[in-house]
Each structure stands twice: as C-alpha cells, then as structure tokens.
C-alpha cells in the first residue's frame, strides 16, 4: 500500500471548470488567501461564478481581480468592508451579495464538507440576515435552518503539503481553508512547500489527504502574500 501522488500544475488542476461554477476561496484578509490560484482562475476567464469567501480582499488583490474582470455574479461572504469595488458593485447590482454571520458561514461550509444537510442555530434569529430562512422548533426553542454549502471547486492555500494532499497551515492563515478543503467536488491546494510523503507526521496534518484532489507547488511568493494596507 502506498499513497497516490496528486501533485500537478495549476493548469491541469483547474482544467475543465466551466462558466457558472461555484468556487470556494480560502483566506481571511491576506493570510491563507490562495493568490496564485485566484490569478490562474482569472486567466481562465470563466463567467457567472459564484464565489464563497469570508471577505472580498482589498482593491487590487485576491478575488478583487475576479470582481474587476466581471467574472463574478454572486458572492457569499461575511464582510466586504475593505473592498470599495465590491461594495460599489453590490450597490449598483453588478453582483449579488449574500451576507452570513461569520461563524455560520464557517458552519455551513463545514456541514457541506461533512455531508450534512445543514445546521440549526439561533444566531441572527432577530436580524435581517436570517429573513426568509426556514425555522424549526426544537425543545421549545425556535431555531434557524442554515443549509449546507458545497462548491464545484475549492481553492486552498497551505503552508506545507505532501504529494498525497495532506495539508498543514500556519498561524491565522488557517481560517476557512480546512473547512473549504472538505466541501468541494474538486479541492485544489497551492502549497508553499511540497515535502516528501512521511515528512508531515500523521498527528501534524490539518487537512487529511483524502479530501484533496490536486496539490500545486508555489514558486517564490508574489508580493500579494505579504501585503499590508493598514
């Protein structure tokens, strides 16, 4: 028994994706955002994408490139306050934005990754975020039904990967990455380093390889990965 080698190129990993795809993108602000995979997705030129990401990055960075090129129809997110373009496109109707409470977005993605239909929560019960969502009464308590989210493809940034797709993240670059890495039909991880099988100890793996379809090695990191605007 040996484990499969899933390392490939960006081009191969993304090939066959079509217009209208739903794309999950890891990252919270700069840390953990797969800037290189996003650049390749922009080059692919797909239209009508639904993007699921915690935030909209900042102008000129990350998924802002996808917004600028008009490839996004719908954004499922928690906060876009640092990207004026995203706010403007939302206000003008150029994109549809669905806001979620941050931890509920995390749980909806996790539910998708865990093969569940959804979760029950009282979060946002009295806010407009949950308007129109179904309710169910459990033990006398009214709970909101939050449905699971899955995507056609998830773009993941890892600090380290082995060829089987075992992933490890660093510091606050973990954020949504391990959740999204379970919740898509095709999971593509860009990794700062690909280490030989066995170098990542079993107890040190953050995302187990069976969830990951493709591993792509990054070259020297572009400037975006270290940008601070504040």
């Amino acid at each position: 028994m040996r484990l499969a080698d899933k390392s490939t190129t960006m081009q191969e990993a993304l090939s066959g994706l079509g217009d209208g795809a739903t794309v999950m993108v890891g990252g919270f602000g700069v840390p953990g955002t797969p800037f290189t995979l996003i650049r390749d997705l922009v080059r692919l030129g797909l239209r009508n994408l639904t993007v699921i990401k915690n935030d909209a990055n900042e102008t000129g960075m990350g998924i802002d490139h996808l917004l600028a090129s008009g490839q996004v129809t719908r954004l499922i997110t928690t906060h876009i306050g640092l990207n004026p373009r995203a706010i403007e496109m939302m206000n003008s109707g150029a994109i549809e934005v669905e806001f979620n409470a941050q931890g509920i977005l995390a749980e909806r993605i996790r539910a998708g990754g865990a093969g569940l239909g959804g979760i029950l929560t009282d979060i946002g019960e009295e806010t407009e975020l949950t308007a129109g969502k179904p309710r169910i009464e459990i033990a006398g308590k009214r709970l909101v039904v939050e449905t699971a989210l899955r995507a056609d493809v998830a773009l993941i940034h890892a600090e380290r990967a082995d060829p089987f797709g075992n992933l490890r993240y660093v510091a606050t670059a973990r954020n949504f990455n391990p959740l999204m890495a379970m919740a898509a039909d095709r999971v593509i991880a860009e990794a700062e380093r690909i280490v030989p099988l066995g170098d990542l100890a079993g107890d040190d793996v953050h995302t187990p390889g069976p969830f990951v379809d493709h591993v792509v090695a990054l070259g020297p990191l572009s400037e975006e990965y270290a940008v601070v605007r504040r």
């Binding site: 028994m1 040996r2 484990l3 499969a4 996790r110 998708g112 990754g113 865990a114 093969g115 569940l116 082995d162 060829p163 089987f164 075992n166 379970m182 919740a183 030989p196 099988l197 066995g198 990542l200 079993g202 107890d203 793996v205 187990p208 390889g209 069976p210 969830f211």
Partner: protein
Amino acid sequence: MVARAAREIAPGMVVNLGIGLPTKVVDHLDPDLSVCLHTENGLSGIGPTLPPECANSNLIDAGGAYVSTVPGSAFFDSAVSFALVRSGRLDLTMLGAFEVSQSGDLANWKIPGRFSPGAGGGIELAQKARRVVVLTTHTDRAGNPKLKDTCTLPITARGCVARIFTDMAVIDVTPAGFALIELAHGVSAAEVCAATGAALALPRGDIPTF
C-alpha cells in the same frame, strides 16, 4: 474469496474495510498498489498488518485490531473521519452482512432479540461510500441463504450494495436483481442458485472462476 475481493480495489481508491472478513483483505493487497485505507476511528493510510510484538497501543482500527501506518498517513477525530465518508470521499467500502436483498438492501447490524450491540459506523459506510461491496459466507451457519428477495432483519441501508463476494460466487446487484458474475473454484452455478434465496441471473457462455 478474500483474495478475489482484494482485486476489486483499483489504484488511487480510498477504501474502508469493515470489521470481520473485510479486514482480512489488507493482507491480499499488492504492497505497491496505490490505495489509501481508511478506518473510521480516525486514520487514513493503514499499512500492512503487524505482528503483535510490534503493535502500538494507540494505533488500532475500528475493529480494535492493531494496525500500522504508511508514509503519508494522517490521524483525525471521529467527526472528520465520518465527514470523509458522508461527503463522498470514500470510493469503496467492503462490509459484512447478515442479509442482502436483490435490490441491494443491506442488513448487518441487528438481529432482534439476539444480537444488538449497535450499528457503529456501519450505517454511514453503507449509505455513503461511493461503492459498497459485501463479503460474506453465502449462507448462515444453519445453511439458510443470506441473499434474499427482501431483508427480514432491520436494515442498515437500502439499495446500497453493488456486489457480493461469497465463498461460492461473485454476484452483482443489478436493476433486475442478483446476477452471477463468477464462481468459486469447484462450485457449480446450480449450487449457487440453490443456496441463494432469490432469482439469480446467469451469464451467457462460460462463467469465470476464482
């Protein structure tokens, strides 16, 4: 039959081998085969079976047997382990059975009044693995067929079983019911039919043996 079942595993698959007969499949795998064996108590990448003196007491499979790892093994908690199963990342599971119906229903967790220790992870494996095959003796200890028109025992999951490996034959579950695929060496199609509790479609021409 265990060796025959082992050939069901294709390169690149993620596979869960259920408690009992299926666990023995691991000893029939080509050491060079690219396969990831999963166990629901939290390990991807089971390695070859170890002699007891090499065992690590923190390293068991879901059946409680000591296992080894391979380069690239990963450990995870029980929620992640079943997330993998339910979200479609398990290509194949091999399970034991009390009964299989001709529509692929599986009963393998409870015999009312006699055996009811709980289903463990069996329901999720049966319901969510991309392909479910069963390894079982063709009949029970009393000689009664385990392959039947309908299950009489409480079911584990409906319509889940694709293929059955027994000591007598390899049988597929098709939309039209059971179909004989292969015979065990020295067993006749007539004997298999007689030991099967439902109609069994025979292939045209020679029937391969294993």
